[in-house]
């Protein structure tokens, strides 16, 4: 029920969007509105989106847009990713998690994979045949990557993997998991390495039922168990062991940029929905919009969202110049996700009782948003990164 959604604001962007990006924006809008939003409730009941929607996204060219064409990708740039993220956030559909697949998983292969790995996996990811996931977090470790306990022991012609992972997005649906484990029986003992795990028919691998979350119900999140799972030697991502920590952290700046883009788009969507609502809704003989408190709260939200977008664009431009620092990416991540939650919360409040009812998009945005301050490195971690850079 999105009856309050107004037309999108005219983009007034500092970013060098071209015609191809505008075309992508339209395709993405149609895809989310017509092929995702109508099924959201069913997917939420199932706890996940069906495989078919991935293949459809692949058909439309919405997968692996930033991957070179030689690996089946779209040959695009980071602006393609941002367009897609913005339109998905605007649609209110947290699932399917295209950005996880496109901007987190596929780049591991592209940047660190061997040629054979890229050719083997990326085309199938681009077509939607293979859904990607990353398995870092463990029940005991949280944001503390170095504290993971999953091990991969080299035994002759294979790796033997044992351990548990939790909060793994796409844990139930992924066909390909980038797994972080500490390697043993190699030169880099007890250092982290990444492995490519194909889950189909994998003995000793178990994914839980989708975890019940506060929001994002159609985006499956699971616990994974690896119980003496055997992986071929060539499942190691890249050539050598022990590079996992660097590989994971090197990707963080870009991932946080994407999180910021999603947060900013969601603020805009929340404000637009709320402005429409308070103009229509009446109380005490006037429109809710006519109360000074309403106007002030929305003026604050509109301003802060504008500031956030300006900073996001500045960060993207710096990223394109290769000059975005980890501290700035951390600022963007913590500040925009904090702001996303506070704006959405203020918008819920302006909806009154309806703000608490899941029929209304703003209520779902509220449930979907809270995790943003926690995932991708909790905002406390961001502050540590910034604080240590001073």
């Amino acid at each position: 029920m999105n009856k309050h959604a107004p037309p999108p604001r005219p983009p007034q962007s500092a970013l060098p969007f071209g015609e191809e990006h505008q075309l992508l924006r339209k395709t993405a809008q149609r895809f989310f509105e017509q092929e995702c939003v109508p099924h959201r409730e069913d997917w939420e009941k199932a706890g996940m989106a069906p495989d078919s929607i991935w293949r459809r996204a692949g058909e439309l060219g919405l997968l692996c847009m930033s991957i070179p064409a030689e690996y089946g990708g779209g040959g695009g740039d980071i602006l393609h990713s941002i367009v897609l993220i913005e339109e998905q956030a605007r649609s209110g559909c947290a699932s399917p998690m295209l950005s996880l697949h496109n901007d987190v998983v596929a780049p591991y292969l592209l940047h660190y994979g061997r040629e054979d790995q890229k050719h083997h996996y990326l085309p199938r990811m681009a077509s939607g045949e293979l859904i990607g996931a990353v398995a870092m977090t463990e029940p005991q470790s949280g944001s503390d990557l170095r504290g993971i306990r999953t091990t991969a022991t080299r035994e002759g012609d294979h790796w033997r993997v044992s351990g548990r992972k939790t909060f793994i997005s796409h844990g139930c649906t992924a066909g390909l998991i980038v797994l972080a484990a500490k390697t043993r029986g190699e030169g880099s003992d007890e250092r982290i390495s990444l492995f490519l795990v194909e889950t189909a028919g994998l003995h000793g691998f178990h994914a839980s039922q989708p975890l019940h979350k506060l929001g994002q119900g159609a985006a499956d999140t699971a616990e994974l168990a690896f119980d003496n799972v055997k992986l071929p030697l060539n499942a190691l991502l890249g050539e050598s062991t022990g590079a996992g920590f660097q590989q994971l952290t090197a990707r963080l700046v870009e991932e946080r940029l994407m999180t910021g883009a999603a947060a900013v788009a969601l603020m805009d969507a929340a404000i637009e929905a709320t402005v429409a609502y308070v103009k229509e809704r009446r109380a005490f003989g006037q429109r809710v919009m006519d109360f000074q408190n309403t106007r002030f709260k929305l003026a604050e939200a509109r301003t802060e969202a504008t500031v956030a977008r300006t900073f996001l664009e500045s960060c993207v431009l710096q990223f394109l110049n290769g000059a975005l620092s980890p501290a700035e990416a951390a600022m963007l991540k913590y500040w925009t996700t904090d702001l996303q939650c506070s704006i959405v919360d203020a918008c819920v409040q302006l909806h009154g009782g309806y703000g608490y009812i899941l029929d209304y998009p703003i209520a779902r945005m509220w449930c979907d948003s809270r995790i943003a301050k926690i995932y991708g490195g909790a905002n406390e971690i961001m502050k540590e990164i910034i604080g240590r850079s001073l």
Partner: protein, 380 residues
Amino acid sequence: MTQSVHYTAEHELFRTSVRRFLESECLPHIDRWRTQGKMDRDIWLKAAAGGFICTKVSPDYGGGGGDLWHCAIVLEEQTRLGLAELTFYLHSDIIAPYIELYGTDAQKQRYLPPMSRGEVITAIAMTEPGAGSDLQGISTRARREGDHYLLTGQKVFISNAQNAELIVVAAKTDADAGGKGISLFLVETQGAEGFRLGRNLKKIGCKAQDSSELFFDNVRVPAENLLGGVEGRGFVQLVQRLPEERLIMAVSAVASAEAAVEETIAYTKERIVFGQRLIDFQNTRFKLAEAKTTATIARAYLNRSIDRFIEGDFDATDGAMVKWWTTERCFQAIDECLQLHGGYGYMQDSSITRRYADMRLGRIAGGTNEIMKDLIGRTL
């Protein structure tokens, strides 16, 4: 023990039995109630048998004859166990007082004893789709026709309606008289022609508490079911009850923040990250210090408010203050506590996640906090 002038050892005994009841009779069923979106009917009989509903109603009508602390204790214990959404307080401490304070003798005799026994479950229907917190703006009409009234209109966000046999309905008996045209009706809904129970709305939290749409299409209500027997008193009756109702809302806000802080202290002492306990980080200690301070101050304020209410020194402004402040600040404290739980704070089966989702409602329900500020602002 609770710091209050009016809190006695008897209250503490009552608390113990409430907790036992909740643990043995409610906690085991809560997941099912959440899934079905409402409580089971039979829990009301059990609660009544234990003496946990209508605790303030006079023993003459089968009630407990207690004071506001009894109400608070039930709600506090519910909240500590994560069961704040159970609507015993609504029936016992919001609705029963309307009948006891404003009802005719016949109304009291007819309804209060079965309510106290848990045999008749009640709801109250004020809010309408077009009116929200604006009571004077309701459009449900009650037209007198001989010895009965015909009710027509629509209500929304009505809790307990899925199980209720009796609904107190606010309607206009005089459309032109503003607040003075509003009357309350005791509507028996079982088989009432023209009455329809609409959807049970899905909410962010409080999932075991139903929240329904109601439709009235010329529903016949006997004239003797006009509350108090005189038309036009509804608005005054509603307004008079607001301070206590808002104070009751504050109880679960404060109790939930207290529990959240305790749970989070325990969690952060257990959780190890980067080689030390989470509570050993200064940020964790500071955030917890702030949340603990909020909970402590809110508790002192709540207890003093309850005492003042019992002493008859608690007015509309006091009610507005205690409602917005506790629901706002306690929610903030819970939000900070959630953050310290990391990913576990986003899981539906985490206590902190439920508290966060459940307590969001307090800032909206019972008159939004903006309404509270408006009310206070006008008194300055």
